[in-house]
């Protein structure tokens, strides 16, 4: 029975063209992320609580990722941690996109505005990224909000640069000059001519910021900033697991690390395949 289903599946895949297959891949990966996010939100709080009778258990059917030193189920903790990561990632991408749209369009407004935007980008890039996140999150009083905002506010720089370069290129096009000679305002040109060209850039940039933000959130919590050590965040789980490696509790690091890897790769796959579809130069490959 199961083999026929598998064969059917293969036949189904064969029937699709590359474009359809890419779309299928994207939807599968999105579904995976959605599932992680949804299940982390609806996780039963009792499965996150301690149970000292079942501490440091190796992975089993009951605890697929094992348990930690307080007998907490690592599967539930990892899911909750990943949920937080995905939310931080989504928030950071949204803010980054918004900021880069605003700054990118601003830079097309004139010479002064353009220098201001480049100066702002240079300023933010001149401070080591992780340090900046830590500074902002401490400045905001620490806690989960500090980390979320810290990560959110620092990922717009590279996207802004891409957008600005794109705009510069578009600005040299003939139809822009013609519009200008017709007396259209800068704002009108930005809205009607430039913005439509930028939409694919934004979408791709937004998705590619996502894994960065997730990894930065993991790094910051790994270093012990933001969340308390008993709360489930992927960085905290990983840093805690370090203490137990010598004791032989390998599952504490392996599964959470692997899950983080899968989530990050999933987002990356989505971004890459979306790029194939949307980029006119690659769409027909």
């Amino acid at each position: 029975m199961s083999t026929s289903v598998a064969l059917n599946g293969k036949g189904m895949l064969r029937g699709l063209n590359l474009r359809q297959r890419t779309i299928l891949l994207i939807s599968l990966m999105s579904l995976l992320l959605m599932t992680v996010l949804a299940s982390s939100l609806y996780i039963d709080s009792s499965s996150l609580s301690t149970n000292f009778d079942s501490r440091n258990l190796a992975p089993s059917l009951e605890h697929p990722f094992g348990t930690d030193w307080m007998g907490r189920d690592m599967f539930a903790r990892t899911l909750t941690g990943l949920g937080l990561s995905i939310m931080v990632g989504a928030f950071a991408s949204a803010i980054s996109t918004f900021v880069s749209v605003v700054l990118g369009l601003l830079s097309s407004m004139g010479r002064a505005a353009d220098s201001f935007v480049s100066w702002l980008v240079d300023l933010f890039l001149s401070i080591p990224h992780l340090l900046l996140i830590i500074l902002i999150s401490i400045g905001l009083g620490g806690g989960a909000t500090g980390v979320i905002i810290g990560v959110g506010l620092t990922h717009w720089t590279s996207l802004t640069r891409v957008v600005r370069a794109e705009i510069k290129q578009i600005n040299t096009q003939d139809y822009i000059h013609i519009s200008r000679n017709f007396g259209k305002s800068n704002w009108w040109i930005a809205r009607k001519h430039i913005l439509p060209h930028l939409v694919p850039q934004f979408l791709l940039g937004m998705i590619l910021v996502f894994p960065h933000a997730i990894l930065h959130e993991a790094s910051v919590t790994f270093l012990g900033f933001g969340l308390s050590p008993h709360e489930p965040a992927i960085g905290i789980i990983l840093s805690e697991s370090m203490r137990y490696l010598a004791a032989g509790y390998w599952w504490l690091a392996f599964f959470p690390g692997m899950s983080l890897l899968i989530v990050v790769l999933a987002v990356d796959v989505i971004g890459e395949n979306l790029g194939k579809i949307m980029d006119p130069r690659k769409a027909h490959e």
């Binding site: 609580s49 307080m70 960065h212 308390s228 050590p229 010598a246 004791a247 690091a253 690390g257 890897l261």
Partner: protein, 537 residues
């Protein structure tokens, strides 16, 4: 963008690899033994390496065996005071003059005899320098003759005996500002070599006035707990202090020893209400929820301490009710029956705490029975206890939100927010500093919640100004509970004491450490080093 991504990904992969390889490595190895009368120990990870060297004037050896120096008195395994350098002591009627006779057969490591002059010099020097030892009550110490010292106090102080226990005697003729780098004393071990940040080597003192130690060479290496554990496994270290997480590890040829301590772990429950008052630094004062005595009593009675010891502490601890349970100044009447959730619920209900909105958390006058509980992020045992208490409190309808914090934050917040603290001093001054209203001093971690009860204050004052410890003990006990009020649960219950936490050591199977002395905060495993030996087989 892709290029930047690959680096963190690589790290995660590596971490996973390490994790997998870690489990392959856990097979025990038999260690390479050094000469049997040598001992390499990785302990003292709490206090760590003394920054200012091995100088008793700046605090070396306070609360633990100084090894190089000897002290006038010591405390044994029951916290009773025993003579070391001293042969006897008398206290004048008014408690202002302490006369101590010392042995006349003691020599420093350089061959010069130790006299009463050195003792007087040590204490006068320690009183002048702002070291770890508080000697403000000492007016002056004088040598009457070669083996009699007289201490004149500004006011009578029963706890002065602890200063005589805590300060190792230094030689007047060889004391310079760099003494800590190259100490000379009269203790069982001579200082040999100190590689800063790595290790210190001691050798047995052949002229020691007491019993000769079995171990002729003692090396203390400075390592973090997990490194120390790995070093023991590799056979490089004979004895190491290890974190509780390694309690169940089995290593060939090594045993794990769990030493009872007086290190009591408790939670402060601020007794003042939040009236909008702020500290000088602008932090709020008081806590509306814990200022209700019903909450404090219910928590004390409802929490099941035995399960805290069994669970979070993995059995390596003992229940604790007053914070001084194992010390002579404990008031046995202040110890109570706990784990009684029904009684706790009744206390809360009688006080008007009822769950009106059905969310499982009680309310009174529109205030929810919930508060934040801070613990030091770096301390795993405190984290585990905090989480476990919070889960137990939920059953009583009290919502405790646990939060890890830095010590800086804790110092500012403790006056309004409950905190997990650990205290374990063999000096009852600790009790005075914790509960006397005038002791409030966040910068020194004294009476962090500004607890104030005039009756308790009076008992504490009488206790500390008693001429000697025996008289004082009665008043230390009354301060906990005098039949009407006190600092214990029966009285104001300003603390929720939970458990005392054992120290864990992993050591060679043939190492016999005798009967350890009482173990204070930071441990004092070398307190009975003279009894240590290897069992021949």
């Amino acid at each position: 963008m892709k290029k930047q991504l690959s680096f963190p990904l690589l790290i995660i992969l590596l971490l996973g690899l390490v994790a997998v390889s870690g489990c392959a490595d856990s097979a025990g190895k038999t260690g390479v033994h050094m000469a049997s009368d040598e001992l390499v120990a990785a302990v003292g990870t709490h206090g760590g390496e003394p920054e200012s060297g091995f100088d008793p004037i700046t605090g070396w050896g306070y609360n633990h065996e100084p090894l190089v120096q000897s002290t006038l008195f010591k405390r044994d395994s029951n916290a009773a005071v025993v003579n070391d350098l001293a042969t006897d002591h008398t206290i004048s009627e008014d408690g202002l003059v302490w006369t101590v006779n010392i042995r006349d057969d003691v020599k420093f490591h350089d061959g010069v005899a130790l006299t009463a002059g050195d003792v007087a010099f040590t204490f006068n020097k320690a009183a002048m320098s702002a070291g770890r030892v508080d000697l403000t009550m000492l007016e002056k110490a004088t040598a009457i003759d070669d083996d009699t010292v007289e201490f004149i106090l500004r006011n009578p102080q029963s706890t002065f005996i602890n200063k005589l226990i805590g300060v190792g005697i230094v030689p007047e003729h060889a004391y310079t500002s760099s003494y800590g780098q190259n100490p000379v004393g009269s203790g069982p071990y001579m200082f040999k070599q100190w590689n800063k940040g790595q290790q210190v080597i001691f050798e047995a003192n052949p002229d020691y006035y007491g019993q000769q130690p079995y171990f002729k060479k003692l090396t203390i290496v400075y390592m973090e707990g997990d490194t120390a554990f790995a070093a023991v496994k590799a056979g490089q270290v004979d004895l190491a202090e290890i974190p509780h997480t390694y309690a169940n590890q089995v290593v060939n040829g090594r045993k794990i020893v769990s030493l009872e301590t007086i290190e009591a772990c408790g939670i402060t429950l601020p007794t003042e209400p939040n009236t909008g008052e702020k500290t000088a630094d602008g932090y709020p004062v008081g806590n509306t929820v814990t200022s209700d005595i019903a909450i404090r009593k219910a928590l004390n009675i409802g929490i099941d301490r035995q399960s805290l010891v069994k669970g979070p502490l993995n059995g390596h601890g003992a229940v604790e009710f007053t914070g001084v349970d194992k010390l002579p100044w404990v008031n046995k009447e202040a110890i109570f029956e706990d784990g009684n959730i029904e009684e706790a619920r009744r206390i809360l209900q009688d006080a008007g705490w009822v769950d009106t909105d059905g969310d499982g958390i009680l309310e009174k006058n529109g205030v929810k029975a919930e508060f934040t509980l801070l613990y030091a992020s770096s301390a795993q045992d405190r984290q585990a206890l905090a989480v476990a208490v919070s889960e137990q409190a939920k059953k009583m309808g009290i919502n405790i939100k646990v939060e890890g914090a830095s010590w800086d934050k804790i110092q500012n917040m403790a006056i309004s927010t409950p905190v997990v603290f650990k205290y374990g001093d063999i000096d009852p001054t600790d009790v005075y500093l914790r509960y006397h209203s005038e002791s409030y001093d966040p910068s020194n971690w004294n009476n962090m919640i500004r607890y104030s009860n005039p009756v308790v204050d009076a008992h504490l004052k009488t206790a500390i100004t008693s001429p000697d410890e025996e008289t004082a003990i009665e008043y230390w006990q009354l301060a906990a509970w005098d039949g009407e009020t006190g600092y214990s649960e029966k009285g104001d219950a300003p603390w929720l004491w939970m458990a005392s936490i054992n120290y864990l050591y992993i050591m060679d199977e043939d190492l016999d450490i005798g009967t350890p002395v009482i173990q204070p905060h930071g441990g004092n495993i070398f307190g009975n080093i003279l009894e240590w030996k290897r069992i021949e087989n």
